[in-house]
Symmetry: C2
Subunit: 206 residues, 2 copies
């Protein structure tokens, strides 16, 4: 619809995830109105991410340095590793403030449909980290979907014989959610994983 460079920018922005044609147009006009310095800064920041962002050599989390802030932090519990699919999952776990151990970022999940097998993930490096016996527990925090579940069950079979405790995050009803609106799989999981709260011993074994 527009001439030359403005349309090129709208097209390029539309290809980014979560930006539709209307949003791309809005951002393009914002860029057109912005100062040269602002636009130069944004263009530089884009390039810098590609040039400077590295992945931690231990856990493969995204990092500005050779090792990430979690692997460098000696106050964190060195005996537990939380295995996640992506670096953004590390941030999600950190936000809970429930976990003070180390991480391992797989770089995705096993997905035969996308041609991604165990060899394409950082699984060998995870096994290497378990070799010295410092780590005693591995928490599998892959996504609660088909690929994530397949990856967790693969890892569970692989790691259990190595003498570490392997656990999987609980599935169930989201806190603040409504039972009526829960899908049947989630509700089924909530039943399966139910916890007995009665103080009578009989109830616990029912």
């Amino acid at each position: 619809m527009y001439d030359g460079p403005l349309q090129d920018l709208i097209d390029a922005l539309s290809r980014l995830p979560g930006i539709g044609p209307k949003g791309a147009q809005r951002i393009a006009f914002h860029i057109l109105d912005a100062s040269d310095e602002e636009v130069d800064a944004l263009a530089d920041t884009l390039r810098e991410v590609k040039e400077k962002a590295k992945f931690c050599s231990v856990c493969f989390n995204v990092s500005a340095d050779e090792t990430c802030r979690y692997c460098r932090d000696s106050r964190r519990d060195q005996s537990v590793i939380c295995v996640v699919e992506e670096s953004k999952d590390v941030i999600a776990v950190e936000r809970t403030r429930e976990f003070r151990g180390l991480y391992h970022v797989l770089g995705g999940a096993i997905s035969p449909l996308d041609g991604r097998g165990p060899a394409d993930l950082h699984i060998r490096e995870l096994c290497t980290r378990l070799a010295d016996g410092v780590v005693t527990e591995v928490i599998l925090a892959t996504n609660p979907n088909l690929e994530g579940e397949a990856t967790a069950s693969y890892l569970s079979r692989l790691l259990s014989p190595m003498g570490v405790k392997v656990s999987r995050l609980a599935s169930g009803l989201p806190v603040g959610g409504d039972l009526e609106y829960a899908d049947e799989v989630t509700l089924g999981r909530a039943f399966e994983g139910r916890r007995y709260v009665s103080s009578e011993p009989d109830a616990r074994t029912a």
Copy 2:
């Protein structure tokens, strides 16, 4: 939450219109995964918009050349000018396929609260375009809000004595909309601008 350049990019993207922190994170990870060529191309396109995008010297529409495609097109009706606030409004009007005349982009609307008066808009240039008498009608297509209405009424008072027909886009119920959900101002306008459809002459003058 992230280290160094990745966080810088998330921050920079969050400042763009319509992108929240979650969307910025998603785009930043997309950039991290994209090829160097793709990212370089996006950064170049951003800079090129600032360097190469110009404004038409006649109508102030955004343009890759000295004059825009509408002003260059001799097949368009040279006797009608549609006055809009922004270049994106030109595209909106073009999409209707109802208008085949020329445009004039004001560069905003009169807004005393934002300190924008008639002198800050391309109004003088509009008057210059009307001087040779080729243009016989001006359609005021500013936005149907406070600033747009103020601008339209200012222009209407300014242009009417110059011997051109001045019209304003109709206000009323949006097509496909629901009367129940129309706000009272819009519904009021729809009453005010009602058109008689009865074939009896009496009804038309009622």
